[in-house]
């Protein structure tokens, strides 16, 4: 099931300031549940941010990233009305994507 995401992008000077909040358990594989069993590893592995279809950020994540990851970055050369998209893939092969338009 695709987990939801929240995104917000707006111009700040010559940059587009992008904030993304992802909903994901980011299980490290180290945690035990109430029965004392290990919870299997399950985390977002790859995050790709694109600006008008062109990749501007390609990240490999690990267990070190917390639950419900927050990602903030700035895109140089973007302008109001441009499209910013985020695509992630996790260790279970689940994918999620979201797109927004850069606000003024």
């Amino acid at each position: 099931m695709a987990e939801p995401m929240k995104i917000r992008a707006k111009m700040e000077g010559e940059f587009a300031d992008v904030k993304v909040l992802m909903s994901h358990p980011m299980e490290t594989g180290q945690r035990k549940n109430e029965k004392g069993e290990l919870v299997p590893v399950h985390f977002i592995q790859s995050v790709i941010a694109s600006h008008n279809g062109k990749t501007v950020l390609d990240i490999q994540w690990s267990q070190a990233i917390a639950r419900n990851p927050f990602l903030g970055f700035r895109v140089k050369g973007a302008k109001a009305g441009d499209k910013i998209a985020i695509d992630w893939t996790d260790t279970a092969g689940d994918k999620s994507s979201i797109e927004t338009t850069v606000g003024a």
Partner: protein, 437 residues
């Protein structure tokens, strides 16, 4: 030196000064059964169908790990009072000293500064020039206590302060077996070495001048508050048909207008159950007989719907309905429960959360707030726990924090406290989902 922030919060000199909880109690006592205002409720004039027999949190047990996998204190504190029952034995008098008290001051110092033991003395006291960072100020500065008090007084005060000062909120360290007699002797030996006044040169380390934490996050910014995911989920669940084929929306059309004030009038006294229902328990019991969905309290879906329904009332002021005798009695019981000493640490809600006692001071590195201003943001995202808490989960956490057994979320006593808090918070604006550390 006074905390400048605390000073701005002091009551204006001209007003008659009453503690919030006392003022609320008086208000309750004076309240005449006012005519019930004809307000637009979700189903005006009709009595909401509720399932009345079963638990709203079936299978609940005191947990070791919460729904997000964070650890939850699990010690069994049977033998100490809970909000459900008084069990703590009374003080048994100053019996436990031999003077002079001999002990190992170095070992005592270690115990006094050890944050793993009972929160440590520095959680609430400044203790001379060796005080570790971030001491508290709920208790007095002890930097010169060794020059002020004799051995017997010190020993007995640490063993059980109730024997010497009825107003002390300090845990009875000896009587409640947090430290044994030999350890208390060592602590007393250390206290006797404290004779020199101490002033912390860093204003942020001195609890008297440290700035209170200010949360500048926008709780309704979806990229800031993970609870906003639950708001979407709640909206979705509201429209989703349950086992019986009907959804919430089948009966409650236009929830934006019909639920504009609903959550701000909760909790409410429910005559059919003869106790107080909060939003979350209401959801469980109402859904069972309408949509057929089972939404146990503190389950993710129940909380998501609670977030949605609270959010619809954002900006509305909390106005609990105290027109019935049952509601007023429940609020009064709640006020009384807030004065009950709970758990191994022997603390009452009012000890830390009224300005007459210790609100706006520091304990255990945390800033204590008063009870007004604490409920309007629930359910709330807790960044330190990675979870959304409804108000009842907050009560459970308060209980285990003073080392008292927590109760199931649908406990009558929690309803009474929720009603008392709604009374104290009357006029506060709903702003949900909140975000707190």
């Amino acid at each position: 030196m006074r905390n400048p922030h605390a000073a701005t919060r002091a009551a204006p000199a001209a007003t008659i000064f009453l503690p919030d909880w006392l003022a609320a109690l008086l208000m309750l006592a004076l309240a005449c059964p006012a005519p019930v205002a004809a307000e637009a409720t979700p189903t005006s004039g009709k009595i909401a169908p509720l399932e009345l027999q079963r638990s709203a949190a079936p299978g609940w047990q005191r947990q070791k790990v919460d729904s997000q996998g964070s650890s939850w204190p699990q010690t069994d504190w049977t033998g100490y009072s809970t909000v459900a029952a008084i069990a703590t034995p009374g003080p048994n008098g100053p019996l436990h000293f031999e003077t002079p008290v001999t002990g190992d001051a170095a070992r005592g110092r270690q115990l006094a500064f050890d944050r793993a033991r009972g929160g440590s003395c520095v959680a609430c006291h400044v203790m001379g020039k060796d005080t570790p960072p971030q001491p508290g100020n709920v208790g007095p500065d002890l930097s010169t206590i060794g020059a002020m008090r004799d051995d017997a007084w010190l020993f007995n005060y640490v063993y059980d302060p109730r024997t010497q000062n009825a107003n002390s909120i300090m845990p009875p360290w000896g009587a409640h077996r947090l430290f044994n007699v030999a350890e208390i002797r060592d602590i007393v030996a250390f206290l006797k070495t404290l004779k020199t006044p101490y002033h912390n040169s860093d204003p942020q380390d001195d609890p008297a001048t440290r700035s209170p934490p200010r949360d500048t996050r926008d709780n309704l910014d979806p990229t800031e508050n993970p609870a906003m995911f639950a708001l979407d989920r709640g909206k979705e669940l509201f429209d989703k048909p349950g086992a019986g084929g009907k959804s919430c929306a089948s009966c409650h059309r236009a929830p934006e207008s019909s639920f504009k004030i609903w959550a701000a009038r909760m909790p409410r006294f429910e005559p059919r159950l003869k106790r107080v229902l909060g939003v979350e328990e209401f959801i469980t019991r109402h859904a069972r007989v309408t949509t057929g969905e089972e939404l146990p309290m503190q389950g993710a879906d129940n909380i998501a719907l609670s977030v949605y329904l609270h959010n619809l009332a954002n900006g509305e002021t909390i106005q609990p309905d105290l027109s019935s005798t049952g509601a007023r009695k429940a609020a009064q019981s709640g006020m009384a429960l807030m004065q009950r000493k709970l758990g191994q640490l022997n603390m009452a809600c009012i000890d830390c959360h009224t300005k007459e006692r210790h609100a706006f001071k520091w304990a255990r590195g945390q800033y204590l707030v008063e009870s007004r201003g604490t409920v309007a943001h629930f359910p709330t995202w807790r960044t330190s726990r990675g979870d959304i808490w409804d108000i009842r989960k907050r009560f459970q956490w308060c209980n285990v924090s003073v080392r008292a057994n927590d109760l199931p979320p649908d406990a009558r006593e929690y309803g009474e406290i929720e009603m008392a808090l709604a009374t104290i918070n009357k006029g506060e604006k709903i702003n949900s989902p909140g975000i707190r550390h």
